[in-house]
């Protein structure tokens, strides 16, 4: 533990920490662009300059290790003048098109320009022109004019994802971020550089111009892409900004998915599949309960399911790996003793998908396989067991052979026609309920409700009590 003084306030810092880290941890704000806690220290933006007692020149605080009895000042006129000069330099060729930039509202350059910059540039030279809206990959657009060359994206591909696919080429006002190898920037973690970019240089093609960010609000949720169960923020429209003329359905649409920083599970990153979670949830839904292919009300479908259950001699249940722990507990309490329980995998790795790597992606592509295993054990279903009734819970069960058994289906996604079940009851998705998943290490990660469920769709956790 090292004691040092920042702005006349005694601060306790750990051995080996930098001044910037110690200051941020104690709520003293020092502006920074190129510093990120998970990346190496580059020290190239120079906005974090501070005054160190006893030294003649200002020092970059991100690259300055703490020492005992150090005296740091972050708000003197000298530091403010240095910040003004650095902002003048960084914005020298910045196009200043915040009005049409997707980053505006969560842009650190915009914030610091308001706080530390000057309203008008003193440069009379025309701004240099660089390639705009360059296709870095099918998912990412690069606007080189907005780039401030902090190198965060480059360091991310080198140090975190390890793909080494980005680099900074050329020099001076021609310097720009570019793919190093010919070929696509197809890193499975590539979308993280969008959030990492402190300015609007790296843009998500999916979110491009869909909404200004201040119309949206994040809701904490969990990615269902694999058994890592990364924490994510799902961005829905803030209720003050609900749309009327442009379509009510946009108010029930997730605009984008970003990582929620969770040091125990995923850190500040998620993979591209997590960034596509809102598209996964926007697929065709089942919305109408059905009995043998005909539409029915929820009560009729439940009555028919109860009748099938009471008539059955040897019933079984196939439990979804997308079920939350709370739903599994409700199932266990209501139906567990009466049914033979099998576990099933709703989703398997898609062709070409990254199956497993050392960073985040796991081979099991369902969020709660481990919660199911903890309760019921690992028991895949086989047709030899001679069950005459199956309660099949979860998606993608249509290609499984049930060997003439009667089937009660609880499903979220699919078209009505592809279901051949005797009773079909639509159930809610992860976005429409709150609960928790247990990931592959047994860590429990909770998620909140993002949207209300459609009217005829039921929460699976509330169904089982009515089926028993």
């Amino acid at each position: 533990m090292i004691e040092l003084k920042i702005d006349n306030k005694m601060v306790a810092a750990n051995e080996g920490e930098t001044v910037l880290q110690a200051a941020l941890r104690h709520g003293i704000e020092i502006p920074h662009f190129c510093y990120h806690p998970c990346l190496s220290i580059a020290g190239n933006c120079r906005i974090c300059l501070v005054k160190v007692g006893g030294r003649p020149k200002l020092m970059p605080s991100c690259n300055l290790a703490v020492a005992p009895n150090m005296e740091i000042e972050t708000d003197t006129e000298e530091v403010a003048e240095a910040r003004r000069a650095v902002m003048r330099f960084i914005t020298l060729n910045h196009p200043g098109e915040c009005g049409i930039c997707d980053k505006a509202g969560e842009c650190r350059l915009q914030d610091y320009h308001v706080r530390y910059g000057e309203p008008e540039p003193i440069s009379i030279e025309p701004k240099s022109r660089k390639p705009k809206f360059y296709d870095l990959s099918p998912r990412i657009l690069l606007d080189n004019e907005r780039c401030i060359l902090c190198g965060c994206c480059v360091r991310f591909t080198q140090e975190v994802s390890g793909s080494h696919q980005l680099g900074i080429v050329e020099r001076g006002s021609h310097a720009r971020v570019e793919r190093l190898e010919t070929g696509a920037f197809d890193d499975p973690y590539s979308d993280n550089v969008i959030g990492l970019c402190p300015v609007g240089a790296l843009l998500s093609r999916d979110f491009l111009y869909r909404s200004r960010v201040w119309y949206l609000e994040p809701v904490r949720s969990v990615c269902t892409g694999c058994s890592r169960c990364c924490s994510v923020n799902v961005w829905r429209r803030n209720r003050h900004w609900h749309l009327r003329a442009l379509g009510e359905e946009l108010n029930r649409t997730a605009y984008r998915v970003t990582p929620f920083e969770n040091p125990e599970i995923n850190g500040p990153w998620i993979c591209n599949k997590g960034y596509d979670l809102h598209r996964f949830m926007a697929r065709q839904r089942v919305l109408q309960p059905m009995i043998a292919g005909r539409g029915a009300s929820v009560e009729e479908a439940l009555a028919e399911a109860r009748r099938l259950l009471s008539e059955s001699i040897n019933p079984a249940a196939l439990v979804s790996a997308h079920a939350s722990n709370e739903e599994l507990a409700a199932f266990q309490a209501a139906l567990g003793p009466r049914l033979a329980v099998y576990s099933r995998e709703d989703y398997r790795p898609a062709p070409g998908e990254a199956v497993e790597d050392g960073l985040l992606i796991r081979g099991v592509k369902n969020p709660n396989s481990y919660g199911v295993q903890a309760l019921f054990g690992h028991r895949p279903y086989g047709v030899i067991n001679g069950h005459d009734l199956l309660l099949v819970w979860g998606d993608n069960a249509e290609d499984t052979s049930f060997d003439g058994a009667r089937v009660i289906r609880l499903a979220s996604f699919g078209t009505q026609q592809e279901f051949t079940a005797d009773v079909l009851i639509p159930v809610s998705t992860t976005f429409e309920r709150s609960g928790s998943f247990s990931n592959f290490e047994g860590k429990v990660n909770r998620f909140d409700k993002v949207f209300d469920k459609p009217e005829l769709v039921q929460h699976a956790g509330e169904l089982f009590g009515r089926l028993a």
């Binding site: 009005g99 049409i100 022109r129 390639p131 705009k132 809206f133 111009y209 869909r210 003050h240 003329a245």
Partner: protein
Amino acid sequence: MRKDYWNKPEMGLWERLYIFEVIRGLCITGSVFLGNMWKWLTFRKGALTAYYPEELRSDYSPNNRGRHVLTQRDNGQVQCVSCNMCATVCPAYAIEILSTANFADPCHPKAPERFEIDYSRCIFCGFCVEACPEDAIRMVKEVPDFPGFDRDRMWAGMDLLMNWRPMRDPAKHYPTPQAPLREVPE
């Protein structure tokens, strides 16, 4: 005496007698009525209510804030860059904009696909005009076709706002669009 409520009238004997006050009120109403009728009989102005919306006043102040106009560029495209400043500043939440990306025009990669103003909500404060960084939205003094029988039908779309009174900004010069720099500069 303490009043039962703050503006309880204090009535004297004359008011308490009631009938004389009623007659006095009828005299006031009748004199206004007869005065207006005399103006109408002698064809003078200011006598009648205008039958809005069939009849419109012609003497709006030039500063009156009426219906919005979306200005156009020289090529007839809408000048709006869909920055949503007007929608953000609008205190009545009356403006909704759907944006689209158009990289064929490198000077204006972002443009509105739909621009809707809800005149059942608009309070005509003019903040949208002040907030606009592009002089893309203005308000003119005329107020045509505002009344309606249905709140949901009082939306004005981009076609209407651009074309009911086409306006341009001759002072505003745009650089001629250059080809986007896609290749590596030599």
